[in-house]
């Protein structure tokens, strides 16, 4: 008996060391763990707590092409769990009827810390994000009212919404909250980098050297521990005349924001190729070559890039070896994130 109590105490102690804050979801599902030393999430979990049954709806919807006009495209068409919730090997995202968009589909990682969504920050809150892909003619091309009609005719969704909201009438608010709640559970915090920070494992010599270089040259924008500052920067990509994308400037209509795009997280970057807002680089070495020798001095170039980043080829290899430590297999292969069985 005493042994049990002791085990219990040890368990609690370990638990409290591993996670400082824990937002409880109704049970049934793994709670969301906010690791130590992470900033507070942007999303207000205490005001809008997650619920297992709502997350379950969101997960079903995320994988369901019912959201698109011709029932052919789901969120997961461009955001695959195994590739950090992006569309591997596709520079620009696909939509209904083989249409092609103008941007590379972003990863869906640690979204609870995002203040802005989309490459240009056009969306200001995760709950209204899904409205964009649902209605965009080159994505799902569907009308929100028609989506609701289809869901209301589905026995499966009637039952799921009733179970979660005690109401089977299915409103747009419920639909959007459900999609948001599922995506808020997509937290990656168990990469080798995280384990090194928790002193569970150590970097190799090369990774350590890469980390040092990373902190010197990259981390002002790709800020730890989220590996993004969440801000908008012009990283000196030569302008693609077939797209002429001015990014953030289109949203704020301020010249000082032209050619700026949201700094993406680098977590799971091993799997999220191709890179950049238009998917122009296929490999990490191409990305590093850009920063060392390809930066174009367009308007509003990030001040950190004005004098270029000088890296030897060995140093570039070291940085890549560090970036690979941001791969989180527990995240990529988390069964709670995958196609739902029911």
């Amino acid at each position: 008996m005493n042994k049990h109590i002791l085990l219990f105490v040890v368990f609690i102690a370990i638990g409290s060391v591993l996670c400082s804050v824990q937002f409880k979801i109704d049970s049934e599902i793994n709670p969301i763990l906010i690791p130590d030393n992470w900033p507070d999430p942007v999303y207000n979990f205490s005001k809008k707590p997650l619920k297992a049954k709502i997350i379950e709806i969101g997960r079903s919807l995320f994988y369901d092409p019912i959201l698109s006009l011709d029932n052919s495209i789901s969120c997961s068409s461009c955001h695959l769990s195994f590739t950090a919730f992006t569309h591997v090997d596709h520079a620009l995202s696909h939509g209904i009827g083989d249409s092609i968009g103008t941007r590379n589909s972003p990863v869906l990682i640690n979204l609870a810390w995002n203040k802005y969504f989309m490459w240009d920050g056009a969306i200001n809150h995760i709950e209204v994000q899904a409205l964009a892909p649902i209605s965009h003619p080159a994505e799902m091309g569907e009308d929100l009212n028609r989506v609701l009609e289809k869901l209301r005719h589905s026995k499966k969704y009637q039952a799921k919404f009733y179970a979660a909201f005690k109401d089977s009438s299915i409103s747009s608010k419920q639909l959007l909250i459900a999609l948001a709640q599922f995506q808020l559970t997509l937290i990656s915090s168990n990469s080798k980098y995280d384990k090194v920070k928790r002193k569970e494992v150590t970097f190799t010599k090369q990774e350590k050297s890469g980390y040092k270089l990373f902190k010197k040259h990259c981390s002002s924008c790709h800020k730890e521990p989220l590996f993004t500052s969440g801000e908008f920067e012009n990283n000196g990509l030569p302008i693609d005349p077939t797209l002429n994308d001015i990014g953030r400037g289109k949203i704020t209509q301020l010249a000082m924001d032209d050619f700026k795009f949201k700094v993406p997280t680098l977590r799971n970057i091993e799997f999220s190729f191709p890179y950049m807002h238009d998917g122009r680089f296929k490999s990490l070495s191409e990305v590093l070559n850009h920063y060392t020798s390809g930066v174009s001095h367009t308007a509003n170039l990030s001040s950190q890039l004005v004098y270029g980043i000088d890296l030897t080829s060995n140093e570039r290899v070291d940085i890549v070896s560090f970036l690979l430590t941001l791969t989180d297999k527990e995240f990529l292969f988390n069964p709670d994130y995958q196609f739902p069985k029911n």
Partner: protein, 213 residues
């Protein structure tokens, strides 16, 4: 005694409690439109309603968001205010405040299915007017103004204020003909995103809201 109990029960169940309220009906209308213009959509948000006395707020309506749809005839709402207050003015905003614009999804009149929320960019459309005018260079003479914006430099919400003497209902007319006269649709027939043009037109439109007997 029995009657008294019944009376209490009646008040209890009918919702008429000790603190009773008065009703103020606010109604929006438009005059007969100049024949050239074929109106298809006229929808706008009336929010943040306050009753004031000598310029200081006496009563603020809670959850104060009302979508007015003139074409559909959904053109009025009722404000319930405490019986014991005095006021001489009513003020409200034409449009949705910035905080609501950045706080996620809402239901009721703010539901994104109402066609008053941009999808490609977060934010409410404060004022939507669509129709056809022979001078418009748009496809099929379309005229489309979707006005909104909450970011600095794009802030399109317009505060309005009217004298208001209870218990008379408040009738406000949107003088659409003055608006039509002020426009040159051959030059400007479409505004669909926030920005300088939307702000300017929002200011202009707000000036055509008038007290109507």
């Amino acid at each position: 005694m029995r009657h008294f109990v019944f009376l209490v029960l009646f008040f209890e169940f009918s919702g008429i409690r000790a603190q009773s309220t008065n009703e103020l009906k606010v109604e929006f209308s438009i005059p007969k439109i100049d024949e050239q213009f074929k109106l298809e959509v006229l929808r706008f948000y009336v929010t943040n309603i306050q009753l004031t006395q000598y310029n200081s707020p006496i009563f603020k309506e809670k959850e104060s968001y009302h979508l007015i749809d003139i074409v559909k005839g959904e053109n009025s709402f009722v404000i319930n205010y405490p019986e014991n207050i005095q006021f001489d003015n009513i003020q409200f905003d034409l449009g949705v405040d910035s905080l609501t614009n950045v706080s996620g999804v809402y239901s009721g009149d703010l539901d994104p299915t109402k066609g008053m929320y941009w999808t490609w960019q977060s934010g409410y459309i404060n004022f939507k007017i669509e129709g056809k005018h022979p001078e418009s260079n748009g496809r099929k003479n379309d005229v489309q103004f979707h006005l909104g914006g909450y970011l600095p430099g794009q802030f399109a919400l317009q505060p309005l204020k009217f004298n208001c003497a209870p218990p008379t209902d408040l009738k406000i007319q949107f003088d659409i003909n003055s608006f039509l006269e002020s426009m040159d649709f051959s030059k400007e027939h479409i505004i669909m995103s926030p920005g300088e043009k939307a702000v300017k037109l929002s200011q202009q439109l707000a000036s055509y809201f008038k007290f109507y007997e």
